[in-house]
Structures are given as structure tokens and as C-alpha cells.
């Protein structure tokens, strides 16, 4: 209802050109063109009237219903501008916004595929109650713990649909009850970098200002909280000293712990373009893995994981030795001597030893940095996601402060944020240890200011709230009774992910608002609320360079989905709280703007305030040119900037707001201006600081004293605190201990697990997983290991392995505890209550990808896979919870695991119509459950010795493993089974015929309309099966249906493929799926009498050339096509290949792969 009011007020107007006068540069630059707005369905949009620079814009005059809307990509922190062509109901296509200052018209593979991820497929469309225990049991591939099974879940329905009014009232009253019963601290919000700033703001205000605790954390905790902590230590505030232009202006770009080519491809492309124009620019990559970013690097330092601090201490020492210090900067900075002294120990040789790379390469790196004033050090998750992440950030920043290479054109440290709005979350303070608007949680004055601004009913709590990685423990020890998870999938993404899942199972009230059914976390909710997704919601996001851009509504929401701010506001209001009567996101944004100005000496409106808390973040200053003095008549003025002034003094009532129209038309701008030049700005601030006794300090170098064991991979630990109990109880050692003690070294192989992103996937794949072309790059879960390790393990490419957590006795690593601060110890105590050693650990399996891009002993597995997309590929359960003491960010890239090879009996591919996807998965789960039960029975009867003599882990090896990937017209399920009995079941046509029968009986209303047909081939010896299901148009005369068997189906041309199952003892025997996928829309190209044979064979009898695995996602070019360009057309450069077949011509993130193909096959072609 509120939406409707909001939308009615949206009017079509043309912004007059003179509006742009007096705007900040960044804003003004972009508003030089005329923008007009239109009402389209339920949304207000901006249409660009001018043709874009490449003249390729859809001409709206051809079809007046097609409009182009300017919005922002929802993926990485680069925050690219997107132009979406929409009609009244859907987004037709997207392309890069040529005028957006982040990407200037370019989009990466993921962004280019945005249009494919929209629509109602796999969406949550209405609110519902869920029988959490039953659903979790159904979705947990392995048996759950004993407690869990004890709960009788059989008689309740899995899901109960409800309506918004009921569910919102219910949530409100249950949250009130929880507070009444368990206190204000018993509620937690877990939010996300996918939320818009407005959503974030409301969530933060709701819990900190009104529920009255700081138990709100964001998945940004896993992303850039170490960068925040490092920035605050170094600059006194969460500032980003560089921007994107610096990447182009620098002479040396150092990438630390960042596969920028894959994770921030557009930004990387900007650097590469500059490097191409000026080949003297250098790229140095510091990463244990030789990623695709190294393809373009002048130097790659494959340092051992976790040793970045050693390397940068050594660099600081070297820079000191070489006299590279910038005296002006150093004089203004604190802690210089300490930092330099701490670094003194780190000679190049010592660094080389610690980092396990050659001294020569380190010297080369150091010399290059010393010689290059314009150096940008860009860092990402390899730095942040570490138990020493904050130290890594500061070790890097130290070298920049020492040389004065901060905030200058082409010279700065730069944090590449992973999420679209991680920065927005920082701005509104939606983390457990932040306040809001860059104010400090541990500052009582700041808390008071914010509480006053919000008109909070009680003071804001001074205590740091429960952070993401502490949440499981806080729930399990009873501190948290209700958790509300928004737009994130922690059951997949958190370390010790199973522990968190267990916690959700035990939690009194779990509310999840999300837009996708494919979030594993949704399956753990008591109440599921459908949130709007990208293209539906409207608000602002802030990218890595502090640039605020609008995400705009492109199309009507799916089903009953609502914006997160609306859901939150509704619950708050229904809880009886005031200050949440927002009608439109612009009102929230205005309030946020006002808070950034509140008490900020930079605000021209509040100069007479008694207390000033100067911050760079002051959006009212940045947006002053767009502000108006008029307040909408229907809105009270109190939430706007004037409100605070009235409370504190005798100011004239003079509200300053951004009109709704101005908000709608707002173009991207950087807060704090285009550049925060640290040294210039610090001086004026300093004076104010002295006067106001505020907390902004000089920039500071931090003395880094890295642990000698920095590179030791983290293990799961048994709790020492439970040890006495264990002895008293005289309990036998836990299962794991027995296993690993008896395993011989040959079969259990120890590696260090590094997690990370794939080029074409995003987070837990709920969105990117829908775009078929994005699933081609790496369609199955893989574990990448070095060829030497593969040889020792005795595995080859595509072989299956099982990944195990590695346990150590706590006592062994007592030294760890010494290094852990109070914060860390609290976590460990908390964890001890959660773990009793009997919790079931999820099985994790993957297919081996052998590559020398990894160090010997390292293994890489993507972070993306979830239960929704793979049965056993959630990497989270393997990762022990070890967090950075300063930032609370978990170490996700340095876990000790062991790997065992899993010989598979059979492999399978199932292509299925999307409507049948869930049913097929249920069928597979049934096999899994049956055989798991059988094998555990078997296990009881068999002696343990036998199992151990075989050195397999029968209790942990599932009967079946699968992963799925969306194709253009179907869903592909890859499966494999290590068990003969399960393989036989899979290869049994009767099994699938039963499934068919049950599907037909389920869809009885449609039964008359559609006729299903099956055909199969089976090999008795090999357990080989091919089974297809087709569906044909209704029979006009139902009487002769099956009687005249020979001709009835053959003569019908309109047959559609519904399901195709292939099971074989080797992967090689399975057909490729491209052609089959096309048959899900149309089989008319198949001669009718050949129909079943073609489908069973998986290809036409002749004349079909498979394009091969997709290399270029953007242009949909397969490997075979590229090889053809290289070998048949003599293309010996990526450019030539691009000209020939368009591969690599869009985002360029596959150019590395193309070059590798050229290197491999080019010489052959020439010879």
C-alpha cells in the first residue's frame, strides 16, 4: 500500500539543464545531458534521450513501449553503470552505461548476462511459514545429528503460505515477545552487501536505535572488514584514499591477494588499456595462485599463503634502506619509528625464506616499488580474508604512508571491495562494531548524537554486537533467540558453515528475507519473506571508490516481493516503534544524508553546533546543489536536516532535502569529492580536532610483528576445555581421531585449502547460476591441485576426491592462543559450547582439476557452491573459524584439509526441463537417503577393521553426488556414484519409469493435454543407461492414442524433450549437452523416424560440430570454435581470434585462456 502512494507521486518531468550549476564536479559532469523520466508500470525510470556514444542504443521511437533505464550492476564492488532496455513487464537486454564513470560502457561476463537472471524463475514470491526441521532434514544430504532426528517432524506440512499482513504482525509480536522474555540483546540481524543503502540504513536504525542492541552484522564481515579496520588504524577513519583513475594513472600496479582479472574485470580492463597505451606501466601480482591476472603481469610472486605481512615488512625495510621516505608525510604520521623498527628484521633473504619464493624475485619487486613513485597497491580478499587481514592491510598501507604515496594521482593503496554495496553498509554503519555515518560506536557522544537524531527510546548500547562469525555460538549458547537474515546465504558462506546451520536449527525464531529459493539459508528459516531483487528494488549503492550510484526499478516485482526497507519498516511500525513510516526510499536516503551531516563540521548548516564530529562522509555537502528547501507537504520535517538543528539551538526552521525527483534523477557521484588527498585534508581537520576533541587522528603507521606461523594452515580444533571431561568420562577418542590415526599417509593427502571466486559466478550462484552462459566456464565443483600433488594422490583430471576437515588437539597449538587477543578468545570459548565433537560434518566432494598455477601443497576450491547447486560442494564446513583479532574477519583462504580419492563406479548427466528440476533432485536425494541408510546398517554388521583396511570412510562416503547448472532451456545435473548398488539403481530404466509415472500422476490436470513418451537404451554389463522423456502435443483423437503405435508419435512434429538421462561407467561416455539442450525447445530439426535415436545418442547422426566448452561467456564462444580460429584461420593473437570469432571482445576476462590456447595450439598450426 505504501508503494502505491509512493509511486503516484512520481511525475514525469524534464530536468532543466541549469539544475546542474553548482554541482560537484562528478555530478555536474554527468548531468550535462538532458534526462527525462517516465512512469513505467509500477516504477519510475530514467530514459536517456541522447544516443549513446557508440550509437547502438535501442531507439525508443521504433517501439514506444521500450525504454532505456540507467541503473547499477549488482555484482562486484566496481559498481558499473548499466543501461537496461525494458518494456512494460521485463528487461529485454542490458549493456554498459557509456557515461558511468566506473565502466564507461563496458560490462563483464556477469553483468552482460544480467537480463538472463531476471524473471520469476527460482524466485521467492510470497511469504510463508516453514516447518524448518523437516525442510532441513529433507535438504541435508547426509543424516543429521541425533538431537535433530529425535524431533518428530512427520505430520506438519513443510510450508504454510501466508499473507503480508499476517506475517508482519506475527514477526512484530514475536520479536516483542522475544525482547520481553529474553531481553533486548536476544535479537540479531545478519544483513548483506547486496542490500541497498536505504535497506541497510533502516536495518541499522531499527536494531541499534530501537531494539537496542548492536547485534547487526553484514556479510561484509567476510569481505572487507579487515580493510575497514586497517583504514581506521591508518587514517583514523574508514576512508578510501584512492580511486579508479589512479589505476590508469599509476606506473606500477601491485595486486595483492586479488584475482582482479576475474573478480573486478572491468577495473582490470581499465588498467590493461592504460598499460597497452603505455607499455612502461608495470603489473606485479602477489598471490599464491598464478591466476589469470598474472597473464598480464611483469612479475608474479607466488608467496606462501598468509605471508603478505612478511613481504611488506621487508618492503618497508627496503624502502627505508633505500631512503624512499617522504619526509613531509612521515613527519605528519605517527608510529613511523615503531613500524620501521619492527620491519628491520626482515631482510630480503628472510622474507624469501618466509614467503617461500626466490630472493631474486623479491628484490625485483622491491626495486620496482622503490623506483616507482606512482605505485598503486590494490588488494582484495587474499588480504582481507585472513586471521592477520588487518595487519596485512596496514603492512601495505605502511609502505604507502612511508613514501607519501597516499591519495595522490596514481599513487595509493586501494581496497577492492567484493560486494556491490559493501561500502554503503560501512557508510550507514551496519556492522556490529560501527555506529552510523562514520561515527564511532565506542564514543559516547557519537552514540548520543545518533540516538538523538533517531529519537531512540533508549540510549544506544556501547557494546560491540555479535559479529557474523560469533553468531552460531551466540545462538547455541542461548544469547540470541531470534535472528533475521537478509539477502545473504551464511549457511554457505560462513566458516564452520555446518555449525551455523545447526545453530539455525536450534534457534527459536529464524526469519529469512531473500529473493531466491536457491538460498540454502532459506531452507533453515521459520519464516520466509520474499524480498525484491535487482531490477525490482530501488535505491543507492556505493562502489569501491566511494561513488554512489542509483539502482533503479526496471520491472514490476515478482509475486508479492517487497523491498527490504519496507519489510523492516513494517515490522518496526507494527512493533509500536516510531520513525519508520517511510513511503519511498528517497525519504530514507534523505534521512541518511541528514545523519551524515549531523554534527559534521563540514556541513554548512551545522556550524554552530556545540559538538562537532568532522568526517569526510557528508552527503549533504556533496549533494548540496541538488537539495531543495522545500519539504513535501505530506511529510513532517523532523527527519530532515533541519530537525537536529531545531533540537539543539535556535536555528531558523530550514529543512534541506533532496526532492524525490532529484533522487530519482541522481547521477553517480563520489562522496568527499573525487579525491580524498590525505595530506591536504588532514591539516584543516587537525585544527578542528584540537578544538572539538574529536577522534580523528593523524595517519599512522602500524608496527607489524607477523607470527612465525603465519603460513601454517588453520585446523579445526578439539576443545581443550572439554578435555578434562573427556578423561573423566573415559570416552573413546572421537571418530575422526580414530580415522586419521589409522589412515596411512598415502591415502589421506594433506593440503592447504584456498577458496575464492570463479570468473563467471557470483556468491552462492542464486543469481548468476540462472544464466546458462555463466555456468559453462566451470560447470562442476572442482578442487584445483598441483600436478605433483595429483600424482601423489593418484588422481587425474576430473577424478573425484573427498575433502576432509583436519583436526588437531587444541593443546598442540597453544602458541596460537598467545597470539589471539581477547576478542579471539571469547570466540573460542563460545565455540567450545557449540562443539562436542559429535556434530556431523558435511561431506565435501569435488572433481580434481590439475594445474601448475597452484603451489605444491595448495588446493583451490570455489566458494560458490551451495546445496542448491551441488550435493556436496559447500566449502564452508571445511573451514575452521579463525578470525582476525581486529576486524573479526574470518580466514577463508588458509585451511588445513585432507583429501582422499573417491573412485566412482558410474557417472551421469541428467538434462531436465526446469519445471522438473526440483522433482529430480528429490528423486536423487531419495537414492542418497536409501543407500546412506543401507550403508550405515551394513557398517554396523561389518567390522571396523575391514573398513579401515580398505582405507575408505564408508560412513562418510555418500552413495551419490551431483551438481546442477542451468542451461539455456534446461537444467543439467552432473552426477557420480562410488557405490555399485546405487549405480545399478541409477542405470535401471524401471527406476526412472517409476519416476515418470509419479510425475504424470502429480500433473493429472495436464495429463490429457500432453502425452509423455519414453525411450531408453541400457547396457547390462556396464550399468549404462540412456533414458529420454518427450512430451508431445495433445492427441486430437484420444481413442487411437497407443493403439496404432507405429505412427502416432512419429507423425507428430511438435515433440518436446522433457528429460534426458545418461549414466555410464566413464565420463567420456556421456554426451555433450549443447545440442540436447536445444531440443528442450524444439525437436523439429530431427527427422521424426530418427527422433529417439538422436536424442538417446545425444547428437544428430551426422553433420554436427560441437562448439566445445564455453570459453568466452560474453560472446558465447566455445573452445572448439577458438581452436578452429587458431588452427584453421591462423589467428596467433587474442586480437586476431577476437576478430575471427568474437571471443574475448567484450569484457576480456577470457583473454588469458585464449592466449593459453594459442600458446598450446598456435605452433602446431604453423607447423
Amino acid at each position: 500500500m505504501n508503494d502505491a502512494i509512493a509511486n503516484e507521486s512520481a511525475a514525469s518531468k524534464v530536468v532543466s539543464a541549469n539544475k546542474s550549476n553548482g554541482l560537484p564536479n562528478s555530478v555536474q559532469k554527468a548531468t550535462d545531458c538532458v534526462i527525462e523520466t517516465h512512469d513505467i508500470s509500477a516504477a519510475k525510470n530514467i530514459k536517456k534521450a541522447l544516443t549513446s556514444s557508440d550509437g547502438d542504443l535501442i531507439d525508443s521511437s521504433i517501439d514506444s513501449s521500450i525504454t532505456t533505464i540507467r541503473t547499477t550492476c549488482p555484482y562486484c564492488g566496481v559498481g558499473c553503470g548499466v543501461l537496461a532496455s525494458v518494456n512494460e513487464t521485463e528487461v529485454l537486454s542490458v549493456k554498459g552505461d557509456p557515461e558511468h564513470p566506473a565502466n564507461f560502457g563496458k560490462l563483464c561476463s556477469k553483468g552482460s548476462a544480467l537480463a538472463q537472471t531476471l524473471g520469476t524463475a527460482r524466485r521467492l514470491t510470497e511469504p510463508y511459514y516453514q516447518n524448518k526441521q523437516a525442510v532441513m532434514k529433507q535438504h541435508q544430504p547426509m543424516q543429521l545429528g541425533n538431537d535433530f532426528n529425535a524431533i518428530d517432524v512427520s505430520d506438519k506440512p513443510l510450508i504454510n503460505q501466508t499473507d503480508w499482513d499476517t506475517v508482519l504482525d506475527d514477526v512484530a509480536s514475536r520479536l516483542n515477545d522475544t525482547i520481553a522474555k529474553h531481553g533486548r540483546d536476544s535479537i540479531m540481524f545478519y544483513v548483506s552487501g547486496q542490500l541497498l543503502t536505504e535497506d541497510y540504513y533502516v536495518a541499522n536504525k531499527f536494531i541499534k536505535g530501537f531494539i537496542g542492541n548492536n547485534n547487526i552484522d553484514s556479510n561484509s564481515r567476510l569481505c572487507m572488514s579487515s580493510a575497514v579496520a586497517g583504514h581506521k588504524r591508518a587514517f583514523g577513519a574508514d576512508l578510501v584514499p584512492g580511486n579508479y583513475e589512479d589505476l590508469e594513472a599509476c606506473d606500477l600496479l601491485v595486486l595483492v591477494g586479488s584475482n582482479m582479472a576475474w573478480c573486478h574485470p572491468i577495473l582490470f580492463g581499465r588498467f590493461l588499456a592504460a598499460k597497452k597505451a603505455n607499455p612502461n606501466k608495470k603489473l606485479i601480482v602477489i598471490d599464491p595462485r598464478r591466476t589469470d591476472s598474472c597473464e598480464f603481469a611483469d612479475l608474479h610472486l607466488p608467496i606462501a599463503a598468509g605471508t603478505d605481512t612478511h613481504l611488506y615488512n621487508g618492503l618497508l625495510h627496503y624502502l627505508d634502506q633505500q631512503g624512499c621516505q617522504d619526509d613531509e608525510y612521515v613527519n605528519q604520521s605517527l608510529g613511523v619509528d615503531d613500524a620501521v623498527n619492527a620491519a628491520k628484521a626482515w631482510s630480503i633473504d628472510k622474507v624469501a625464506h618466509a614467503c617461500q619464493v626466490s630472493a631474486d624475485s623479491i628484490r625485483q619487486f622491491y626495486e620496482c616499488v622503490a623506483a616507482t613513485d606512482k605505485t598503486v597497491t590494490a588488494f582484495s580478499m587474499g588480504v582481507n580474508q585472513s586471521q592477520s587481514g588487518t595487519d596485512k592491510v596496514n603492512a601495505i598501507t605502511n609502505t604507502h604512508l612511508f613514501t607519501g604515496r597516499v591519495g595522490k594521482v596514481g599513487a595509493s593503496p586501494f581496497s577492492l571491495t567484493g560486494q556491490p554495496n559493501a561500502m554503503g553498509g560501512r557508510e550507514v554503519g551496519a556492522l556490529a562494531n560501527l555506529l552510523a555515518a562514520h561515527l564511532e560506536l565506542d564514543n559516547a557522544d557519537h552514540r548520543q548524537l545518533v540516538a538523538d537524531f533517531w529519537q531512540s527510546p533508549q540510549p544506544i548500547s556501547p557494546n560491540v554486537g555479535v559479529k557474523a562469525c560469533d553468531a552460531a555460538a551466540a545462538i547455541l549458547d542461548g544469547r540470541i533467540k531470534a535472528i533475521w537474515i537478509m539477502a545473504t546465504n551464511p549457511v554457505v558462506s560462513l566458516p564452520d558453515a555446518d555449525n551455523f546451520r545447526q545453530a539455525l536449527a536450534a534457534c527459536d525464531l529464524v526469519i529469512v528475507s531473500d529473493c531466491s529459493v536457491d538460498s540454502d539459508t532459506v531452507k533453515c528459516a521459520d519464516i520466509v519473506l520474499p524480498a525484491q531483487g535487482w531490477g525490482e528494488k530501488s535505491g543507492t549503492v556505493t562502489n569501491s571508490e566511494r561513488r554512489i550510484s542509483r539502482q533503479r526499478t526496471l520491472m514490476p516485482a515478482a509475486g508479492l516481493a517487497k523491498p527490504d526497507w519496507w519489510i523492516l519498516s513494517q515490522v518496526a511500525t507494527r512493533m509500536g516503534l516510531t520513525g519508520f513510516d517511510y513511503q519511498h526510499p528517497s525519504e530514507i536516503f534523505n534521512e541518511h544524508v541528514a545523519l551524515t551531516a549531523d554534527g559534521n563540521t563540514h556541513s554548512h548548516r551545522t556550524s554552530h553546533s556545540n559538538k562537532n564530529y568532522p568526517r569526510y562522509l557528508n552527503l549533504s555537502k556533496d549533494l548540496s546543489a541538488l537539495m531543495t528547501d522545500e519539504v513535501p507537504a505530506d511529510k513532517p520535517a523532523q527527519q530532515y536536516i533541519s530537525q537536529h538543528i531545531n533540537q539543539n539551538g535556535n536555528q531558523i526552521h530550514q529543512p534541506i532535502v533532496l526532492s524525490q525527483q532529484a533522487y530519482e534523477e541522481m547521477l553517480p557521484f563520489q562522496w568527499g569529492g573525487t579525491r580524498i588527498s590525505m595530506i591536504d585534508k588532514i591539516k584543516p581537520l587537525e585544527n578542528e580536532i584540537i578544538n572539538s576533541a574529536a577522534t580523528i587522528t593523524k595517519s599512522q603507521l602500524i608496527a607489524i610483528t607477523p607470527s612465525n606461523e603465519a603460513s601454517v594452515a588453520n585446523v579445526h580444533r578439539y576443545q581443550s576445555r572439554q578435555k578434562p571431561q573427556l578423561i573423566v568420562d573415559n570416552r573413546t577418542p572421537s571418530k575422526h581421531e580414530v580415522e586419521y590415526d589409522t589412515q596411512s599417509e598415502n591415502e589421506v593427502f594433506h593440503v592447504r585449502l584456498i577458496t575464492g571466486r570463479l570468473r563467471d559466478q557470483w556468491h552462492t550462484m542464486t543469481r548468476t547460476g540462472l544464466a546458462s552462459q555463466l555456468n559453462q566456464h566451470q560447470p562442476v565443483p572442482t578442487l584445483t591441485i598441483h600436478p605433483n600433488d595429483a600424482r601423489q594422490l593418484g588422481v587425474q583430471d576430473n577424478d573425484f576426491v573427498q575433502l576432509h576437515r583436519r583436526y588437531e588437539n587444541y593443546g598442540k597449538y597453544e602458541s596460537y592462543e598467545n597470539g589471539v587477543t581477547n576478542n579471539g578468545i571469547v570466540i573460542d570459548i563460545a565455540m567450545s559450547t557449540a562443539r562436542d565433537g559429535n556434530e556431523p560434518a558435511s561431506t565435501v566432494m569435488a572433481q580434481v582439476a590439475i594445474s601448475d598455477t597452484l603451489r605444491v601443497g595448495d588446493a583451490f576450491m570455489p566458494m560458490h557452491w551451495s546445496n542448491a547447486f551441488a550435493s556436496f560442494a559447500r566449502v564452508g564446513p571445511l573451514i575452521p573459524t579463525v578470525v582476525d583479532p581486529h576486524s573479526g574477519q574470518p580466514e577463508l583462504k588458509n585451511s588445513a584439509i585432507s583429501v582422499t580419492s573417491v573412485p566412482m563406479q558410474s557417472f551421469g548427466k541428467i538434462l531436465v526441463h526446469p519445471e522438473w528440476q526440483d522433482a529430480v533432485i528429490v528423486q536423487l536425494r531419495t537414492i542418497l537417503a536409501n543407500f546412506s541408510a543401507q550403508s550405515s546398517e551394513k557398517e554396523l554388521s561389518e567390522t571396523k577393521c575391514e573398513a579401515h583396511s580398505n582405507n575408505i570412510l564408508p560412513e562418510a562416503l555418500p552413495a551419490l553426488t551431483w551438481s546442477l547448472s542451468h542451461q539455456n532451456n534446461s537444467v543439467l545435473i552432473n552426477l557420480a556414484s562410488p557405490m555399485v548398488e546405487a549405480s545399478s539403481t541409477l542405470a535401471c530404466p524401471e527406476f526412472w519409469q517409476q519416476f515418470m509415472a509419479s510425475m504424470q500422476s502429480l500433473s493429472q490436470p495436464n495429463c490429457q493435454e500432453r502425452v509423455m513418451h519414453t525411450a531408453f537404451t541400457v547396457d547390462n554389463v556396464q550399468n549404462q543407461l540412456r533414458f529420454i522423456v518427450t512430451q508431445s502435443a495433445p492427441e486430437t483423437d484420444s481413442n487411437n492414442a497407443a493403439i496404432n503405435s507405429g505412427s502416432s508419435d512419429d507423425e507428430r512434429p511438435s515433440t518436446q524433450l522433457i528429460m534426458a538421462i545418461y549414466v555410464a561407467p566413464t565420463q567420456k561416455q556421456l554426451p555433450s549437452v549443447r545440442w540436447l539442450d536445444s531440443c528442450f525447445t524444439d525437436t523439429s530439426q530431427i527427422p521424426v523416424n530418427q527422433r529417439y535415436k538422436w536424442l538417446l545418442a545425444g547428437r544428430p547422426a551426422s553433420g554436427y560440430v560441437d562448439p566445445g566448452p564455453l570459453v568466452c561467456s560474453c560472446m558465447s564462444v566455445g573452445k572448439n570454435t577458438i581452436l578452429n580460429a587458431i588452427t584453421q584461420h591462423g589467428c596467433i593473437s587474442a586480437t586476431a581470434v577476437g576478430k575471427q570469432c568474437r571471443a574475448g571482445t567484450n569484457c576480456g576476462s577470457c583473454v588469458g585462456q585464449i592466449n593459453a590456447l594459442i600458446a598450446e595450439c598456435g605452433p602446431l598450426a604453423q607447423a
Binding site: 554389463v1021 503405435s1045 523416424n1089 535415436k1093
Partner: protein, 492 residues
């Protein structure tokens, strides 16, 4: 075009020409073929075609046919009975072809005696013919089991045009008929008669019909299809006696289990017996059939035998393919047989000329000739339990269309195939069985038929291990060397 003109021109005086040639022949002893069935007529034509390339060395050919209809395709009688084909369309060759090739055809004449010493034969019209080479192609006769009352009126066999005509009468009157024997011929007859209006039941001794040619799943599909077509089945049924009424007409059949089945007529389709009387009386070695060696020699010099009348290593031949093979073998033996006398007889194989291609008995294939109902089988499809464990089966099924294919593999060779519903790949599979080649490289697509199996892959795919291909060809005693050589050539 010009060919047909000349045919029309020569046809006018066929009769006179024949007689002229026959008397001519007496002087110049040539090649005489007794029996103008599928084997005899085909051999005459094939040999003449081979000879015509080499006019200097030719011997005259005489083809003697007992039936007035010369060289019709007996296996096409089922479609004729079903009314799908006209009898005229079953002739293998046009009359003019015999003439053009200079073959003397003596139709409606039987051979009385053979004098193997004088190398001459006596016909029932009094003529005597000398021969240089004599070919026995006397065929076979339908077997009649002497059940009680088997001579009753209305008990028929299904062998020639006369039978077709008689049976059609019953069908058109809508009578009730029984077919004894669920073999190919019996089923074809039953279907044909049912289609013509008769009410038919097939009596079969074994558990399912075509039990020699089909496996159980295919037979079940076939039986279901037969029932849909109104052909009833009594399997595992053993005939006790044929029931006869007072008028001496068939009125039914009693089974050993006590059942009685009513019938107006009975077709006995229980196999054939080689026609060996003439051979026996002429002193040729005869067992169940006329005994021949690998080159179709009988026990008598210059006397050969081909077709359904022969027996080789205890085996009889009732199918087209082996008969054609025998024809081909004999053509190689006789194509340059000049006046020179032949000395090679059974047990004296010392001097086999290089160009002779021996007859090798190969797995047989079957094709059911009932319109809209196709079954095919080739090779070995039945196995005892022990053998079954080592046999790999590839099965294709399309339940709604009743398509069923089953391929039997042993040691990566195709040894048997049963196709039901869609038999278009039958010849492909039977060739693979005959060629006995290793199909490893095409195994995964074999079940999808010839279109998916590029035979050159058999060798191409194995290029890295070429020696293996050659080895299997050399070591396997049953392999067809010529075929293997061709395959290798194709691959290279």
C-alpha cells in the same frame, strides 16, 4: 531404353528360340541347372553375367524348372497371401533377362534321371541333355507332420502359389483357421490370412513364438502385436490330433493338454524338407540334404548343389542370404570352367584355385514380412546360463512405439542382434556379426545404428594401437579376410 525395345522384339519368338538352343545344347554339353527357384535362377543369371564378359570361354547354360513359373521369389508369397503384393511382382528376373544372357529356360519340365557317368539327364518330356557341369538346385518341400487325420480336407501347407490360392479362399469366406508352428512362415501366414478376413490362431510348441529367432522381450512385443491384429496364440501347445468331420473335412484340433480348438482349415508351417530324391537315386551322397563341400561340389564329379536342398557339415540352409552366398561361391568355381574336366570332389581339396571363394556358413538373419510389423534377428541370441554371464547386452526400447533392439556382445564383438519395431539397421548389424570385427570403438553408439557408427572409426580410432587391429584379423579363424582387408584399406 534401347534395352527394353530389344526385349520386346525378342520376346515374340521365345519358344522357338528355346527349342533351337536346347537341341544345340545337346551337342555342346554345357551347364545344366535343375530347379529354377531362388537359387537356381539366381545362379543361372549370375554365372551368365560373369561369363558374358568373356565370350570366348563360355559354356551354354540351361535352366530347368518344374514349376511353370520360373524364378519367383518364394519368400514373397506371404505378402501375396496378405494381398499386399501381386504375384507377378515376385519374379526375380524378367524373362527377357534370361534370353539376353543366352540362358535356355525349360519351364514346366521335370528331370527323370541323371546319369553321372555319361553326364546326361533325362527329362519327363523325353528329352535328354548332356551336361559338362550339373547343378542341383531342387529346393525343398514343406514338411507335413503325420498327425492323425493330417490328410483331411482343409489341411494345407504354405509353399507355393497353389497353396496361396487355396488359403485365400478360406480367408475371404471368413473361416476359422489354425496355423501349426509359430515360426516365420507360420506367423506370416496367420497374419496374412487374418488380414484377409480369416479368424486365425497360431499353435506353437515353445514358450513364445519365433523362439529360435527372437529373445523373450521381442517375442512378447510381437505376440502383443499379433493379438492386436486378431491373431490368437496358443503357446506351449502340443498337437494331439487333427479333428475331422464325417465329410472328411477339418473341424478342429486337439491338444495334448486336452484343449480342443475349432477350425475350418489348418496350415502346417513346421519347416521344410530338402528335395533329395533325384540326387539319391542318381547316386549322390545324401544325408538330410545333398552333401556338398565348401565349394558346392557333391560327391560326384561335375555335379554341384546349391540352395535349400544341400547339407554342409550337417547344416541345412533355408534363408536367402546363405543361398545367395552359395550361388556366389559356385560362380567363382564355374565362371571359367571350360571344357577341362573337374577333378575336385569332396575329400580331395588339394588343388583349390586361388580365385575360388569358399562358402562359409555365417550367422543367419531373419526378417519378418508382415506389413507394419517388423522383426529382425541375426546371429546368436540364445545362451545357456553360463554363457549369458559373459554376454553383454545393449538394449534400446521405446515403449509407446514398441521399439525394441537388443544387441548381444561378446569380447567386444557383435554376436547377435534382435530388432523389433524398427529394423532398418538390421543389415548393418548382421554385417557386423558376419564380419566378426572388434566394435570397441563404436560400442557406445552401436545401439543407435549405422548412422552413428562410422566404420572407418573401427580402425581409425585405434590408430595408436594399429597392431591390435591386424592381430585380431589374423588370429580369428572365422574372420572374413577380404572384408577385413577392405576395412583396413578404407582406413588407410
Amino acid at each position: 531404353m534401347s534395352l527394353s525395345m530389344s526385349q520386346a522384339a525378342t520376346r515374340v519368338d521365345t519358344h522357338t528360340n528355346t527349342h533351337a538352343l536346347a537341341s544345340d545344347h545337346q551337342k555342346n554339353a554345357g551347364i545344366v541347372i535343375i530347379g529354377a527357384g531362388m537359387a537356381g535362377s539366381r545362379f543361372a543369371i549370375e554365372l551368365a553375367r560373369t561369363q558374358s564378359n568373356d565370350d570366348t570361354a563360355r559354356l551354354p547354360i540351361t535352366l530347368i524348372s518344374k514349376e511353370p513359373q520360373v524364378g519367383y521369389n518364394r519368400i514373397m508369397l506371404s505378402p501375396v497371401l496378405a494381398g499386399d503384393t501381386a504375384f507377378e511382382d515376385t519374379y526375380l528376373y524378367d524373362n527377357s533377362e534370361y534370353e539376353q544372357l543366352g540362358i535356355t529356360v525349360l519351364a514346366g519340365v521335370a528331370v527323370e534321371t541323371i546319369d553321372t557317368k555319361c553326364q546326361c539327364i533325362e527329362l519327363d518330356d523325353g528329352q535328354t541333355l548332356n551336361y559338362a557341369k550339373l547343378i542341383m538346385a531342387t529346393g525343398s518341400t514343406a514338411r507335413v507332420i503325420p498327425f492323425p487325420n493330417h490328410t483331411a480336407k482343409g489341411v494345407h501347407v504354405f509353399r507355393d502359389l497353389a497353396d496361396v490360392t487355396a488359403l485365400m479362399d478360406y480367408a475371404r469366406q471368413g473361416k476359422t483357421g489354425l496355423v501349426i508352428g509359430g515360426g516365420v512362415l507360420g506367423l506370416e501366414a496367420a497374419c496374412a490370412l487374418a488380414a484377409q478376413g480369416a479368424s486365425m490362431t497360431v499353435i506353437h510348441m515353445d514358450g513364445y513364438v519365433l523362439n529360435r529367432q527372437l529373445d523373450l522381450p521381442a517375442a512378447e512385443l510381437l505376440q502383443a502385436e499379433l493379438r492386436r491384429r486378431g491373431v490368437c496364440l496358443a503357446v506351449s501347445a502340443h498337437t494331439e490330433a487333427i479333428e475331422m468331420n464325417d465329410a472328411g473335412e477339418v473341424c478342429g484340433l486337439s491338444l495334448k493338454d486336452g484343449r480342443m480348438l475349432a477350425a475350418d482349415f489348418i496350415v502346417m508351417a513346421v519347416g521344410v524338407i530338402p528335395n533329395t530324391a533325384l540326387a539319391k537315386q542318381s547316386g549322390l551322397e545324401v544325408n538330410r540334404g545333398i552333401v556338398v563341400d565348401d565349394f558346392m561340389h557333391t560327391s560326384c564329379p561335375n555335379v554341384y548343389a546349391i540352395g535349400e536342398c544341400i547339407e554342409r557339415e550337417g547344416e541345412l540352409f533355408g534363408m536367402v542370404a546363405p543361398v545367395n552366398q552359395q550361388v556366389d561361391t559356385l560362380v567363382t568355381v564355374l565362371k571359367d570352367a571350360l571344357i577341362k574336366n573337374d577333378t575336385n570332389v569332396i575329400d580331395n581339396k588339394t588343388a583349390v584355385p586361388d580365385h575360388w571363394v569358399s562358402f562359409v556358413s555365417k550367422p543367419l538373419s531373419l526378417k519378418l514380412k508382415v506389413s507394419g510389423m517388423s522383426a529382425f534377428s541375426a546371429g546368436q541370441i540364445a545362451f545357456d546360463d553360463e554363457a549369458a554371464d559373459t554376454v553383454e547386452t545393449l538394449v534400446y526400447r521405446q515403449p509407446e512405439l514398441n521399439h525394441y533392439h537388443c544387441l548381444y556382445l561378446k569380447e567386444n564383438k557383435l554376436i547377435g542382434a534382435v530388432l523389433y519395431g524398427d529394423t532398418s539397421d538390421g543389415s548393418f548389424y548382421s554385417q557386423l556379426i558376419i564380419d566378426n570385427v572388434d566394435i570397441t570403438s563404436i560400442k557406445d553408439t552401436l545401439i543407435f545404428g549405422e548412422a552413428y557408427c562410422h566404420l572407418d572409426e573401427i580402425t581409425l580410432n585405434n590408430l595408436p594401437t594399429t597392431e591390435v587391429d591386424i592381430e585380431f584379423n589374423e588370429t580369428d579363424k572365422n574372420v572374413d579376410h577380404h572384408k577385413a582387408a577392405e576395412l583396413l584399406e578404407d582406413a588407410l
